[in-house]
Amino acid sequence: MKYGAALAALAAALVAGCGGRRAADDFPRDDEVRGWKMERQPRVFQADNLWQYIDGDAERYLQAGFENVRNAVYQYRGRVEAAADIYTMKNPGAAAKVLDSEADVGSQPAALGDGGKVYRASIVFRKGRHFVRLIAYQDDPDGQKALMELAQAIAERLT
C-alpha cells in the first residue's frame, strides 16, 4: 500500500514536473535508436532541489532561468553508458545562455536543434527552451557516432 502510494506520488511528480508531459516522453525508448537501451528511468529535479543533482553547478542554470531537468541513463551495446540531461529553461534565450557558457575547447559545431557542440564523448545542444547534455562515460571508437544518433532522436522529440 505504502509502496503503491509512493509510486503514484513519483508518477505524479514526473508528470507535474514537465507541465503535463511525462518525463519519459522526451527520451527514446529501448532500441528506438539502434543499440541504445535505457538503463535508468528518468528522474526529475526542480529549481528547489536541483542542488541534489548538480550542487555547485546549479547556480549557472538558476541564474539563466531554469524550470526543471530530466535525467536518464542509457547503455549502448553493453559497451558505453551515457547520461542524458534535458534542461527545460524559462525561454529559448535562457537555453542559449547556458549553451554559450559551455567551453568551445575541443568541440565542433553540431547540427542539432537550434545549435550545439559535439566533443569526443559528449554533446550539448539546445532546441527552443530546452538545453540538452549527453555524456558518455567510456571513450569508445563508435561512441561519438552512437551518441549523435541518440541526440538526434532526443532533438526530434522535443517541442
Binding site: 548538480i54 553547478d57 569526443r120 562515460y137 571513450d139
Partner: protein
C-alpha cells in the same frame, strides 16, 4: 581496644557503609527516573587534526612522474614521511572527492590510485583503522563505484563509509556564516584526517581544491552555502583542519567544473602536491593551473587572516621533484 570490640566496630562500619551505598544508589536511580530526557548537546569543538610544524622540513611538496602511487609516496616522504602524520593505533579518515558519478578519466573526482596509495601508507604507519568517506553530490553508491574509489579503498583494506541519514551529527561549527550544521560522523570521531582533493575548475569560485573539498564532510542543504561561498569556505577551513592535504593533480579538470564530463576539459598533469598548509596549497594550485592569484579567491585571504595558513605560497618552503 580488644580484638572482639575491634571486630564489632568493623562490622558496624560495614553495615553502615552498605546501608549508605544502598541509599545512595536508590537516590541516584530515583534522580535519573525523575529527570526529563535531554537532547544530546551539539558538539562545539573545532576539529583540529594538525601536527606541530617542523622548520627543518618543507611545508609543501610538488612531485611529478609517471605513477600515481610513487607520486603520493614521494610527496609525503618529502614532508617527513607518513609516520610524522599518523601514529600507531590511530583511526584515520581519508577524504577524497567522490562527489560526481564520473569515471576517473573525466577528472571530476580524486583518482582511485591516489586513494589506494594513501590507504597503504596509513597501514604502514600502524593505523588501527582507515576509513574512506565523502558526502557525494550524486547518488553515493554510484559515485563510489564509477569513480573506482570504492573498489580501490576496499582492495587495500580500508572501510568505505557511505553517507546514510543516521551518520550525521548536528554540530555548532562556530563560524561567521556556518552555525549549526550536520557533519558526517567519521570526521568527528577519527584521530586524524587526510584531505585528498582533486584539482578542478569550479564555476563559482574559479577552482575547487583542498578547502572546497571539505564541503564533503557536511550534509544538509549545502547549496545554501554557495550564497556566501567564500565566507562559508573560510568557516569550514577553520572548523575542520586536516592533518595533511594531498592534492591529486594527475588529471586537472580545467573547465566546466565542478561536474565536468568532457574529456577535452581534462589536462593530464601527472602531479601530486602535498602540504601541511591548506591555504598555501590552494593558492599554489589556483595559480599553477588557472593563473588565479589569491586575491581572486577571497576565501584564501579570509582563511589566512584567521591564521589557518598563508596565501603567499612563494614564502613557503617548497620541495619539487620529478620521478623519471
Amino acid at each position: 581496644m580488644n580484638p572482639a570490640n575491634r571486630r564489632e566496630m568493623l562490622l558496624q562500619l560495614l553495615r553502615l557503609g552498605g546501608a549508605g551505598a544502598v541509599a545512595g544508589g536508590a537516590g541516584l536511580w530515583l534522580a535519573q527516573r525523575s529527570r526529563k530526557p535531554e537532547e544530546p548537546a551539539a558538539t562545539t569543538a573545532r576539529h583540529n587534526f594538525t601536527i606541530p610544524p617542523d622548520p627543518s622540513l618543507p611545508e609543501m611538496a610538488v612531485v611529478q612522474g609517471e605513477n600515481h602511487g610513487e607520486l603520493v609516496r614521494a610527496a609525503v616522504a618529502a614532508l617527513g614521511g607518513i609516520r610524522r602524520f599518523i601514529r600507531p593505533r590511530e583511526v584515520v579518515v581519508l577524504k577524497p572527492n567522490v562527489a560526481w558519478d564520473r569515471t576517473p578519466e573525466q577528472g571530476a573526482n580524486t583518482s582511485p590510485e591516489v586513494v589506494a596509495e594513501m590507504v597503504k601508507l596509513c597501514w604502514e604507519a600502524g593505523a588501527a583503522k582507515v576509513i574512506v568517506a565523502d558526502v557525494s553530490i550524486n547518488e553515493p553508491r554510484g559515485c563510489f563505484a564509477r569513480s573506482g574509489i570504492g573498489e580501490a579503498a576496499r582492495s587495500q583494506g580500508a572501510q568505505v563509509v557511505l553517507p546514510g541519514e543516521r551518520r550525521f551529527r548536528e554540530v555548532d561549527l562556530g563560524g561567521e556564516v556556518l552555525a549549526s550544521w550536520p557533519v558526517f560522523e567519521p570526521f568527528l570521531t577519527a584521530d586524524k584526517t587526510i584531505n585528498l582533493p582533486a584539482a578542478k575548475h569550479h564555476s563559482l569560485t574559479g577552482a575547487s581544491l583542498g578547502i572546497k573539498n571539505l564541503y564533503g564532510i557536511l550534509g544538509g542543504p549545502r547549496h545554501r552555502l554557495h550564497q556566501r561561498i567564500h565566507e562559508s569556505l573560510a568557516d569550514l577551513a577553520d572548523f575542520m583542519r586536516p592533518t595533511l592535504t594531498v592534492l591529486d593533480a594527475w588529471r586537472v579538470l580545467l573547465r566546466n567544473g565542478p561536474g565536468g564530463g568532457n574529456f577535452e576539459d581534462v589536462a593530464l598533469k601527472k602531479t601530486v602536491i602535498a602540504s601541511t598548509d591548506p591555504v598555501a596549497l590552494d593558492a599554489w594550485a589556483a595559480h599553477a593551473y588557472w593563473n588565479l592569484d589569491a586575491n581572486k579567491l577571497p576565501y584564501l585571504e579570509m582563511a589566512a587572516a584567521r591564521g589557518l595558513g598563508s596565501a603567499r605560497f612563494e614564502d613557503k618552503r617548497i620541495s619539487t621533484a620529478t620521478i623519471p
